[in-house]
Subunit: 381 residues, 2 copies
């Protein structure tokens, strides 16, 4: 009943990789998909019109931040997050759990929820599964997340307790949910421990969410550990529902994830790198545009890139904007970096549809970190 | 010979106000026109695509700043300012004179030029009429300015000496100019003294520049003094050439100037106000969007405004962006404020074409500061 407006359609597969469409009340989401992050209801330095031009299909916003400022009730009064930030395509909100554990001060966790001090004004706040769900219903995103606890990846006893909380809270989120135009996703935890991950994936799968998320990765574990966990996820989580790998990531991680059956990704990386003057390229790695070698460089960031920035501006101009502390630098670099990741995921999706992942991996071979073993071979051969 | 690619065509007049077209190598400039300022080869927080959407027809960039960083020779190597900043419509560069007197440290003026310390790195630099012209030829703007000296408006003896320098330098700029695809404008000085202004306007007019600029206003004088000077300018400067009022201004100053025969304006006001969280409106004056009264305000900045910001975003959202220190605030407010001034000047131009300035002034009556006397009446009745 509650998942009526959502359905997931698999179009094609190659190895574990999947190309599909997730139908939502704000339109169809082609998967795999990379979601730019608009933490505070704004993808930093970018207008919604520029995001449309980039053909971003999904953006992520942040329950913890919006609850503290400007407040979820205010956003509800103003018509919800889509209206508030003028974004009519699908939105995903995380549950706030990750930020409570990474940003808030003086947090105290109990089986019922978490009490913490706001990082903005020091006020005491409390999030429970019910409260996190209510906030996300006020915000009105298409995809909302169960409240979870993310513990450091190697501490088994802490991971076990966090997983217990996460499982109990997942049930309570399901029970407290009242809107049927939002898809609530469950979150799998379990650190780097295969048995815990399998246990968690089974538990969350059994709750029959319309989609499942993989939390607690990209938090300090090795690439090989992440790959192992993702393969367990692909074996256990239902094939017919979308999988979301939270907070990931680098171009390599995206490929890594898609090759292991992940459908949805989000990460602050492209816009954060942009604000630190770094441009993503596939042939030359990351360019630090502060470098004086770019002072007279007439070339675009990437000669093969079709983004607005690469079509019109030289590295020399971008470096000038950075040296002159012009805000336009962050905007133009964000446009490029977002385009790079969105296009990468668009390309891999097309390769899955066309059954040409081998050619895709050859084209992007520079991206693949063979130091950790070429993780791609066994998956599509 | 040197002005061949430029011609100025008057379409209609009402009172002293003029509607025309200034033909340039980068396209036709409908006048009156308001030029957004891109001091360092970037209109702050705005992409060229957004400026085109605003239908900005002319932008101003800054000789002093670009000479110091990234260097005019670098910009020339990269194809000139149009190519460097990706702006294919007309560009105007000022001569650097004003900034030498307002920004540079330890300046020393002599009849040949000015020696000063860079405000960026403390290096010693020297600008002369020949050097300022050479820099502007490297930059390659369509309209370039003679090197002038701008003195405080009330000090007669200092004004007299600055005017002498300005006149001698204007002749030297004309002589040193070598490109014929740039229109060099002369600059009238003379502070608030009618006899000096008349003297300066006659001297500059006699040099037969393709256009004339009015410098040294909006630097501390009263509105009435500015109006008096502008009326002298209209009487003395040739009618068949465009007039440019430098660094002006407020909405009231624009109307004031157009009603006294000015064709071109530039000012940092709209983008600077935007970065200080202020939005220009005609009915309600300036809105300071930090004000808590806007926290839940679902209205746009201006319900009558057709700009991207007003069409899609509430005051509450803009205030949220400001409180959350999101860069998007400056972008969206800059779009609105630039639209407001560009539209104001577009409207007054249309009114001159249609001979309906009376109706225009009635519509914008809120803008007119009657404390200083209703300066409009005698001009168009």
């Amino acid at each position: 009943m509650t998942v009526q407006p959502f359905s997931f359609q698999l179009l094609n597969r190659q190895g574990r990789a999947r190309a599909g469409i997730f139908h939502t009340p704000h339109g169809d989401l082609p998967t795999p998909v990379f979601a730019p992050v608009g933490t505070q209801a704004s993808v930093k330095a970018i207008t919604p019109a520029q995001l449309i031009e980039l053909d971003a299909n999904l953006i992520l916003s942040n329950t913890y931040h919006l609850y503290l400022r400007p407040g979820d009730e205010l956003i509800a009064e103003l018509g919800g997050l889509h209206e508030f930030m003028h974004w009519q395509r699908p939105i995903l909100t995380d549950s706030g759990g990750f930020q409570v554990f990474s940003l808030a001060e003086k947090r105290s966790i109990d089986p019922d929820g978490v009490t913490f001090r706001s990082h903005i004004d020091g006020s005491i706040n409390r999030l429970t599964p019910e409260k996190a769900t209510q906030i996300q219903e006020h915000l009105g995103a298409d995809i909302i997340m169960a409240f979870d606890e993310c513990a450091p990846p190697y501490d088994r006893s802490q991971i076990e307790q966090a997983m217990e909380h996460t499982h109990s809270w997942a049930e309570r989120c399901l029970q407290s949910k009242s809107r049927n135009d939002q898809a609530l996703f469950g979150i799998v935890q379990g650190g780097i421990f295969p048995d815990l991950r399998e246990n968690s994936a089974r538990f969350i799968s059994d709750l029959n969410f319309p989609g499942n998320a993989i939390g607690g990765l990209s938090v300090g574990e090795t690439k090989a550990e992440m790959q192992t966990v993702l393969e367990i996820m692909d074996d256990v989580l239902p094939q017919e529902k979308p999988r979301y790998l939270m907070g990931v990531g680098t171009p390599e991680d995206l490929i890594n994830g898609v090759l292991r059956g992940v459908d949805i990704f989000d990460c602050v990386l492209p816009t954060r790198l942009a604000r630190h003057n770094a441009a993503m390229t596939w042939q030359g790695g990351r360019l630090n545009l502060v470098n004086s070698s770019f002072a007279k460089d007439p070339l675009p960031i990437d000669g093969d890139c079709q983004c607005y920035t690469c079509q019109h501006f030289s590295r020399a101009y971008l470096r000038h904007l950075i040296m002159a502390k012009e805000m336009l630098a962050a905007t133009l670099l964000s446009i490029h970096n977002l385009h790079a990741l969105i296009q990468l995921v668009r390309d891999i999706r097309q390769a899955i549809v066309d059954q040409t992942l081998d050619a895709f991996l050859l084209k992007y071979s520079q991206l693949i970190d063979t130091k950790n073993g070429d993780f791609t071979k066994d998956l599509i051969d």
